[in-house]
Amino acid sequence: MTQPLIFEISRPGRCAAVLPALDVPPTELPDTLVRDDLPLPEVSEADLVRHYTRLSQKNYAVDIGYYPLGSCTMKYNPKINEEMARLPGFARLHPYQDAYIVQGALFLMYHLQEFLKEIGGFAAVSLQPAAGAHGELTGVLMMRAYHLDRGEDGRDVILVPDSAHGTNPATTTMSGLRVVEIPSDARGNVDMAALKAACEEHGDRLVGMMLTNPNTLGLFDENVGEIAELVHGVGGLLYGDGANMNALLGIARPGDLGFDVLHYNLHKTFSAPHGGGGPGSGPVGASERLAEFLPAPVVAVDPEESDEESLFYTFVDPLKSIGRVKAFYGHFGVMVRAYAYIRMLGAEGLRRVAEYAVLNANYLKERVKDTYPVPYDRICMHEFVCEGRLAGAPDVHALDVSKRLIDYGFHPPTNYFPLIVPEALMIEPTETESKDTLDAFADALLRIAEEARTEPDLLHEAPYTAPVRRLDEVRAAKDLILRWEPD
């Protein structure tokens, strides 16, 4: 059933909020600056709550079922974290309060920086970036600033593998730099011959390389050490896209693998919820030589104000900072959730996260790979990519398989990415799913493959059980209705 828009249930005179009466003498309003009309909805509280509750029921969510979304790490979001983020001692702090009355918050931020340094193997961390792509922008601007600081202003090339997330090339352009794409080899790794050639060709123009490891095929690039050597050898830096960090917790530290800078996704790896698209949080870790370029400010111990009994935390600006990348200090509310998560798991728990994530992915791959071809079939990390084109069903596409999965109660996997796999279905189970769930999901995929052969139209028309049928996306882009208009 279609839920009316909030504007369509609006009736003159209704209001869902009761505000206090004015308790001071009024001042004359600045007439020429007062608006004539404020066309906002007028609804009662009961109507409002029902409206949003009904809307919520049209969503799929982690609390409802399983998301095999590759590169998105849709793990379960522990409920304690939500409560902790709402403690008034955190939620009602103004960002400009003096440091000495926000020591609890600064303690949390300082120690989260320390945890992330330790987990990633970096010399310093800034919590300021708001999301993964924002962390990328931060990291690439830091690499650029590093070269400029050394007087090397001719460097403007960033190497990006063809399997990379779209944010990598987009970030490069935003930073005023140029993308040179590096192909993948037959094993799904970076093609070393192509990389060598690119390093030779662009050597003194190279800012660095952006690498996701494990890459978007879910494969650990075995040549990562050699890649780092090649890039470093011509004066470049190695950027790590931390979207796939869930595979590395307690397994290997990007800093030890030769990465100079990396963003973490607190909303993927560290269990903060995705919120229907955000907010995320994309802290950036940096090696010794890049630490002083981190965005300002970071939390540090103030030696002047500290004594043996207690440390005093304060904000400081790194020496050669690229500047601030957002107002204030980052998504503190998301940091609280990540801090609670790391505290509850400890070192062993974090390693178990990665181990089970990788175990689940490999198990699922084994269960489906005879039906859904896996073009790069080797032991994978936390995710794998198979093809959604099926033997005996030439007209069925990855999209059809995905939409049919909805009828089986699952969220579809990531489709058509990475671009180097035709009809890609990118599957990331995460560690929080049980074998029962994985089996049910694999069974559904196999049954759908059978349907694809016997009743392909069933797939073309799917889903049948969702709140709406397949939506006309072409029409949406053509007619472009981006807001409600009164009749």
Partner: protein, 431 residues
Amino acid sequence: MLAAIGVRSIEELFEDVPEHVLFPALALPPALSEMEVRWEMEMLAGANLTAADGPCFLGAGAYQHFVPAVVDTVLRRGEFYTAYTPYQPEISQGTLQAMFEYQTMICDLTGMEVSNASHYDGATATAEAVIAAINIQRMKRRKVVVSPFVHPEYRAVVRTYTQGMGLTVVGDDGAAADVVSLLDEGTACLIVQYPDFLGRIEDLSDLAKAAHAVGVLLVVVTDPVALGLLKPPGAFGADIVVGEGQGMGAGLNFGGPYLGFFATRKEFVRKMAGRLVGQTNDQEGNRGFVLTLSTREQHIRREKASSNICTNQGLVALAAAVYMAALGKCGMRQVAELCYHKAHYAQQRTLEISGFSAIDDRPFFKEFAVRCPRPVQEINDYLLDEWGIIGGYDLGRDYPDLKDHMLLCVTEMNPREDIDALVEALQEVAL
């Protein structure tokens, strides 16, 4: 499961990882149970003094506004906060419809034609406005003029974002008496804030005309709570309206997550970054909503995208939507009027104290700057230590000319007793 994979141990799954870095011993504190984590977090939260513990007059871009209970009731629904980005529209209609409604209300509030589904915060939305303006001007105009009374941190973020783009950002060093004098044929956009960082409001029509006369786009950074009362920037001729939506349901949260909103004219929609929800039909003709114009975005266009933004502030935008719908036509106006009258009462009472004076007599909304008889830090220390009051923002941090000037913010959350207490405390300071 190991047998199905064909390995003997979990460790074997990591054979591709170089052995010398494998399985590092992480030096992290030992794991805690849920109960212990709660104790630790409550202890940390309790070590802070908050705006809930006493009167607070800090604003400067982060505001205490009342959040009706319905907002968090909606946000705590797992169907909303544990959902993914609505790339699969058939099972994301809740998020998509709520965002479509959000976009509509942002348009109505700002007086603009189209709004995206959010940016990270007011500062990054401002930086994205600059990038949009440069693209709208086909990269031919490389100068950005910014008023000194745009939030200092927003100006800093604009500079950070654009450091690799070869732009000139001018106007906020205090050298020019009037930003209009800096506009020319090489200028892409002019950025002003309304109410400005010092809380002041003015008719922007002449500014818009002056900008448009030389082909310059007017970008207005605004406070949506003020727009419950004030003429929207769209009515003055603004081309892009951005700002911080935190005041609408997000709470203070020590600076984030907040909400960047971005609205513009329909003709510029393809230059606007960020996700966008559009209306369409399903195959049975029912109304439905999808993410649209994704060909502007990084996952499709890669290095040619209008921005690298991917994750946005979905849940905070939902909070703003619920807030706008809950307060609605009457409530939004009422909140804005409460802020206006209380701030003016506070200003009048403060200016009666000897030693405190106004910097000018321009109209203002909920914040005002006062010249103080002593350094602001000293005054704030006194307010807190003796009265338990969190005082104002020290403008000397950003404006050398405004040393010993305090920016005070008064909202509906400050009852008259708080304001009277502040005035009494300031009287003691002045002695």
